[in-house]
């Protein structure tokens, strides 16, 4: 249990570090939202100074950070200058959209990757294995952007899928069933693009983790005891290969979040990605910090989940 407590403490420390890092970066940035305002002849310099004071932008870095951290812990992540609204409500719906997309893509990619990887490893060198490896190689060389644009072009040409957003304009008027159908239709392409980005990495790792285990002396020994093949693969080999795969789970979440930023922008999925991009272009400081920090929260939480799974799956870690 102390292992998990340690991992949790570690995760919290890392998040604190991330918050300091992002916050410091933004404070070092030349110009903020009000710098742009200053250029506007209709707003007097006094007003700008007063506003800066009101938002606490004129205090020293540690003080601003501590104030921000204290309010962040209360759920107040600051104020968006561009949207003229508190950051958290703005972020909350965007973040949940990103999570829906990422988790769905994650589930889809793993559900395909595990059987495919195990199967390729079990038939090492056979034509099916080679085809899988050629497929993953090609998919790995296709940039996310291209996949997303390709799928979007496909949607445009065929008209089978909507070309962006989360819901049709007419969605409000639809019945519940139709609304769900509409939502799913909007979700399919971005999720597919996202899953296609991580799928080749997952398949390759599953395959190589399985190969390592299949070559291990204890699998040879199990074969020597006459354990049937299917049982050998799923009861003996897969749990032993789980360790690197669970670690991969955390890492793949990072890749997925990175990929989703771009895909959200391309496919106009109203997630964190487009919000962050806008915020950067608008120099909307608190939104940038909050969005980046939130992405770190997702990733760190994902890694913590991986730690918990690892704890459950590997007796050697439990014994530590």
């Amino acid at each position: 249990m102390s292992y998990l407590a340690r991992r949790l403490g570690h995760a919290i420390l890392v998040l604190l570090g991330v918050s300091i890092l992002t916050f410091a970066l933004l404070k070092l940035a030349p110009g903020d939202y009000f710098a742009g305002m200053r250029l506007n002849p209709q707003i007097s310099p006094q007003t700008v100074t007063a506003l800066r004071h009101a938002y606490g932008l004129n205090r020293s870095l540690p003080v601003t950070y501590l104030r921000w951290l204290r309010s962040a812990l209360r759920g107040d992540l600051g104020y968006s200058f561009a949207y003229n609204t508190p950051v958290w409500p703005l972020l909350r719906s965007r973040a949940s959209n990103t999570l829906i997309l990422s988790l769905l893509a994650m589930a889809g990619a793993w559900l395909v990757a595990i059987p495919l990887g195990v199967w390729a490893a079990a038939h090492r060198g056979a034509s099916l294995d080679r085809a899988t490896s050629a497929g993953t190689t090609l998919l790995l060389a296709l940039p996310d952007v291209l996949i997303a644009l390709g799928l979007l072009a496909f949607a445009l040409r065929t008209g089978w899928f909507p070309t962006g957003g989360m819901a049709s304009v007419a969605a409000q008027a639809m019945g519940p069933a139709a609304r769900v159908r509409d939502f799913v239709l909007h979700l399919i392409l971005p999720a597919a693009a996202l899953a296609a980005g991580v799928l080749p990495i997952l398949v390759r790792h599953v395959r190589s983790a399985m190969l390592d285990v299949l070559d291990s002396p204890y699998l040879l020994a199990a074969r020597g005891h006459g354990i049937p093949r299917a049982r050998l693969l799923f009861r003996h080999a897969l749990p032993a290969a789980a360790n690197p795969l669970i670690s991969l789970f955390g890492v793949s979440l990072g890749t997925l979040l990175s990929g989703s930023l771009l895909i959200e922008v391309v496919m106009s999925w109203p997630g964190l990605g487009p919000l962050l991009l806008e915020a950067i272009l608008e120099r909307d400081a608190y939104v940038v910090v909050a969005a980046v920090l939130l992405s770190a929260v997702f990733l760190v939480a994902g890694n913590f989940v991986a730690d918990v799974l690892l704890y459950a799956a590997d007796p050697r870690i439990r014994a530590e």
């Binding site: 074969r223 020597g224 006459g226 354990i227 014994a319």
Partner: protein, 324 residues
């Protein structure tokens, strides 16, 4: 004596890439009776392990049996399909691997690992198999340890792991157990325990045992017969006392001379006896007798002609030109 295992002219090859296959075991013939212990000795890289793995069709990637037969209770194992072989492995013939630390699955409880073997060969529920596994563990020296079946391999000592591996091997009551260097990785004291355990089991279950080692001393308390391998060939076989006390082949003599004595009072002062040189590369064997370059009794003819097996006495076979 009824023959349990008959191996005839077995040849095992390894193929690497496009190179011609290397013969790691050649022309191997031997018999084993039920309840008999056969020790196989030889330096590393002389084909002992490959021979053992070939008996059960467990050769690693690139290895294959080129010719010969392995008759177990009358069935030729070489001709069996993988699915049929799988029914033999663990149930009729089982294998104890070199290093039990590596041969046990690190993420499964040891009790379950034994139960797995039972489930693979019997129509039996998991619960029954677990109970059985506990009984077997108690039988092989874990009597005092109540929760031992719930342990994971990393929680056990080297000797305990080897015991678990042996428990797996005997779980289904096989007729033959092949143990490949079962004690090499262990401390001297534990080595004694494991060999004693093997001996007890062998007598109790009337097991046939093939014990592979490169330390002849290990065989002294347990082996009925001894087989010596060099460069993929069986160079000498016979009853253990005969081979140990009066080795015929110069290689056997060299091996035994460099190993067995212990007390300084008994051992002569001066240099230790040893076989000069090193075992040859199996991919490029010298012409004639493979041992000739290292042999103290080398004759002219040894470098040109391969020796054939010659029988001396009831069950003594030696492959050396000296005795032809």
């Amino acid at each position: 004596m009824d023959r349990l295992l008959e191996v005839r002219d077995l040849r095992v090859c390894y193929r690497k890439g496009t190179e011609p296959p290397t013969h790691v075991v050649d022309n191997a013939s031997f018999d084993l009776a039920a309840g008999e212990t056969l020790g196989i000795i030889g330096e590393s890289g002389c084909g002992k392990t490959s021979l053992a793995l070939a008996l059960l069709g467990l050769l690693p990637r690139g290895g294959f049996v080129q010719c010969g037969e392995v008759r177990f209770k009358g069935t030729n194992l070489i001709e069996l399909h993988e699915a049929d072989l799988q029914r033999v492995r663990g149930a009729e013939i089982s294998f104890v691997h070199q290093d039990a630390g590596l041969a046990l699955n690190p993420v499964l409880r040891v009790g379950d690992q034994i139960a797995e073997v039972l489930i693979a060969h019997r129509r039996i529920s998991f619960r029954q198999a677990s109970g059985e596994a506990r009984k077997i563990l108690a039988q092989i020296g874990f009597a005092g340890h109540e929760q031992i079946d719930r342990a994971f391999p990393h929680q056990l000592s080297g000797g305990q792991k080897q015991r678990v591996a042996i428990a797996q091997a005997i779980a289904c009551g096989p007729a033959l157990v092949i143990a490949d260097e079962p004690v090499t990785a262990l401390d001297a004291l534990v080595q004694v325990e494991i060999i004693t355990l093997l001996k007890t089991l062998q007598q109790h279950f009337h097991l046939a045992l093939i014990l592979i080692t490169h330390t002849p001393a290990v065989l002294v308390p347990i082996a009925h017969r001894i087989m010596v391998m060099y460069a993929g060939r069986i160079v000498e076989q016979g009853l253990a006392p005969e081979v140990l006390q009066a080795p015929l082949h110069p290689y056997t003599q060299g091996l035994l001379d460099s190993g067995l004595d212990l007390l300084p009072q008994e051992s002569p002062a001066g240099p230790l006896s040893s076989i000069p040189g090193e075992p040859p590369n199996l991919a490029a064997l010298p012409a004639g007798c493979a041992f000739a370059p290292r042999c103290s009794d080398r004759m002219e003819v040894c470098q040109t002609r391969e020796p054939v097996e010659s029988h001396s006495g009831k069950s003594r076979i030696v492959r050396c030109i000296k005795y032809e």
